[in-house]
Symmetry: D2
Subunit: 181 residues, 4 copies
Amino acid sequence: MQNQYIGVIGSGDDVPEEVLQDAEEIGTLIAKAGAALVCGGRFGIMEAACRGAKATGGLTIGILPGLSREAGNPYVDVLIPTGLGYALRNFITVRSSDAIIMLHGEVGTLSEAVLAYQHGKPLVALRCSGGWARRLETTALENGAHLDSRGLMQIHYADNPSEAVRLALRLIGTVPEPSKI
Amino acid sequence: MQNQYIGVIGSGDDVPEEVLQDAEEIGTLIAKAGAALVCGGRFGIMEAACRGAKATGGLTIGILPGLSREAGNPYVDVLIPTGLGYALRNFITVRSSDAIIMLHGEVGTLSEAVLAYQHGKPLVALRCSGGWARRLETTALENGAHLDSRGLMQIHYADNPSEAVRLALRLIGTVPEPSKI
Amino acid sequence: MQNQYIGVIGSGDDVPEEVLQDAEEIGTLIAKAGAALVCGGRFGIMEAACRGAKATGGLTIGILPGLSREAGNPYVDVLIPTGLGYALRNFITVRSSDAIIMLHGEVGTLSEAVLAYQHGKPLVALRCSGGWARRLETTALENGAHLDSRGLMQIHYADNPSEAVRLALRLIGTVPEPSKI
Amino acid sequence: MQNQYIGVIGSGDDVPEEVLQDAEEIGTLIAKAGAALVCGGRFGIMEAACRGAKATGGLTIGILPGLSREAGNPYVDVLIPTGLGYALRNFITVRSSDAIIMLHGEVGTLSEAVLAYQHGKPLVALRCSGGWARRLETTALENGAHLDSRGLMQIHYADNPSEAVRLALRLIGTVPEPSKI
């Protein structure tokens, strides 16, 4: 049985090449750590992370918005076709992860980061990857640490893939009791 | 049959008195316009808006996170107890609204604003109310107009309750075809 | 605020005329009792029940499977377009009802009856209406009283609209604590 | 990547020993066929099927109703804790399966069979296992073949584990276009 599940969230398209390389390295490091990789099962950052994990013999899980497994990328072992659309798919992705690493990201990724915060799932943003992963640090409260004034949870930032994975693994197990989820 | 449904989203607690007054006025104006008011059915901004709407003979709808209707505020006509938790309740609230007015707001309100943007629901933030309604303008892209670089939808800002309700009513019917929801 | 919500479930098409008349009478009686009527918002039995309720000044609520309110029947006051498909729409319909009256019915109605049983919502089937409302009595356990050997809840049967509504109203408030929902 | 996913549905407790043995054999045969096994992740029939699959080196997936992976049985490789309750968990289990084998079963299993029928997922009931797997044949329409008069899909019955798995595998790919789901 898999003991640790790390979610990787980020854009499905228009991702700079160097961010895809970081995503692939993050996938590799997750697999090396013996954790399963959870993602939205599609392309861009999700595919790069899965490719890295599979090259290292890891287990990859993709939660799809539509009904067809054919929409998944070729590096996913377990594809869950929810048919519930993007918003609810993102919800299941977050619920299935013990900690989450965020790269780049448009509004879908932002919604997953918000869900992670609401559910008290440890969240690590790779700040150099741009998009909402970077915007979060400059816009959320107290230097990006919180998404609301109640300070439910602390958001963390990393400067490179290995720091991101190390942080995510260390933070697993720190999840508080669910209250306002 | 009700033809227009305007959602009002905002914090359930720790809301400044003047924001509650604005929420109540927004509720009044929605009812005067003959639109139904949709909200999360609970307290703070939701209760104030419902109180305003009911005092003017309007119809109010509350989508609850829990299983018991007793968690609703006393000014809601129709209470839907989803029992699905906060995140999915917020999803149903947004789906049930044709346009959304946002006041103040912590992370739950932010999640509804993000869902509104993802679903192409016109979103009007009362900028003077603080919280994420204000933070959105200073942090989202292009002066708060968009939540991602794809510019799926334009977020609007209002300076007072009547401008907010006028804008929301005017924007109904401008919803694009759902694509990435 | 509405205090009692009675769900009416049944087929959307191919319904015998006399069953539609029974559905309309059930809607009338629900409205006369001062309860709100909850349904799937569409045609056939749902529309007939809503027409009866509206003719008597009642409040009607329709939970829709799709994204557009235009798919609702003209006698619904409050339309909730979930966009979640039939199965999850049925789930919200059941959650929104305090007791449920079942007429006729194909597999969608059966799924709602099963959900009602799982959630401990009092269920009254109009046995003369045919479909699953009748089949349930001949096929479920112990003369149709239970849907499983654990006997979580008792299913009730009525011979005419007034008996059905009387039973449903009397059973509200008997819901046990949710356990296996 | 896993190409075929077979769901195994059945009771979590009070299951006769010979039905557990059949469930284990079904798990073994699914794994031997190279398909992934999907289930509700808990005990009784689900655990027996997973044990059989794991003993043969198969891949097992469990969709949990609660938030904690600790509620899963020890033979599940991938645990998805939805936190959405039994009804929605059952929905995701069915969506994640290409064909479904049903053993024994109380009302939760019935709800999954109904969902399978609604979604056009091939359904094979092991008739000798009792519970709803058997009751379906005697109560559904046309000798148990259909759950409604529209005859959306044909339900199949098997007399032993190998016939059940053979049938399920053969039926994959026969799923019609989703219409009323």
